[in-house]
Amino acid sequence: MSVDEKLLADIRANIGSTRRADLGEITALHIRRYALAIGEDDPLYTDPEYARSQGHADVVAPPNMLPSVIEWGVGHPEGELNRDGTTGEHLQGVDTSGVRTMGGGETMTFHRPVVAGCRVTQTTTLVDATMREGRSGPMIIVSYRNEYHDEHGTGLMTCDRTMLLR
């Protein structure tokens, strides 16, 4: 299966729709694991004493950690995943089974450091979807905005992201 006008119309029907998700508490363990996985050795991400010396209450998440986490909850049983292993949830409920998805790029704007112990909510807005002819056939380009806030409503970061569907 490849992308078609019907899928484009289904996605476009959700333009402007917004979803809010409680991502839960950002833990120091999650931050440390993320830092390890990207090969970081900055003590800001791993050492609470160093982080406090820099004016933070605890270790700080590497800047691009929040938008990188695909699933903040338990996730879905394997039988409910698309063939490529994804859920397509970022497309706000549109069925993308059989379609190949890939991250196309993003613009991250950082407002406040994300410190271990804070609770984060993510607000996702589907901004646009267009179709064009790619090198290997038609491709749908979906853009959406994720805004992240802490439990006090303080803005942490904004991420404008593009997904490519083929």
Binding site: E40, P63, G105, E106, T107, F110
Partner: protein, 137 residues
């Protein structure tokens, strides 16, 4: 690093990454990313790729680190954008480079714009982008 001593045209120190299978697996695990293209080579080949792919956010993490290591604790990452143009696999070496393209004072903060890119070992640019870093003035 001080705003006054940064010059337009200045290059950031290059950083080289050799993403491994273990790194890709742990990155998927830490981000709970079940996309098979990052850990299932047979599946990646079905999609036409030679091997499993480096996650787009891991490209982003490498470019982010290029900037945060250069700016040090006096700097503040204001924004960072990237576009993933080419794929990379564990067979690739990725070099991150940056060059200062502009300086201006915004709301009492020294803002430095940096053109950034992550280049594959065959010379193809995997991910170009731009970062803005703020410094006290």
């Amino acid at each position: 690093m001080r705003y006054e001593t940064i010059n337009v045209g200045e290059a950031l120190p290059e950083q080289v990454h050799r993403p491994s299978y273990v790194q890709l697996f742990r990155y998927s695990a830490a981000t709970w990313n079940s996309h098979r293209i990052h850990y299932d080579a047979a599946y990646a080949q079905v999609e036409g790729y030679p091997d499993v792919l480096v996650q787009s956010h891991l490209h982003g993490a490498f470019l982010t680190r290029l900037c945060t290591d250069w700016m040090g604790s006096s700097g503040r990452l204001v924004s960072l954008s990237l576009q993933v143009k080419r794929f990379a696999t564990p067979a690739n070496t990725l070099t991150c480079r940056g060059r200062v393209t502009g300086k201006e004072i915004v709301d009492g903060e020294g803002r430095v714009t940096v053109a950034i890119e992550e280049v594959r070992d065959d010379g193809e640019v995997c991910a170009p982008g731009e970062a803005v870093i703020g410094f006290p003035v």
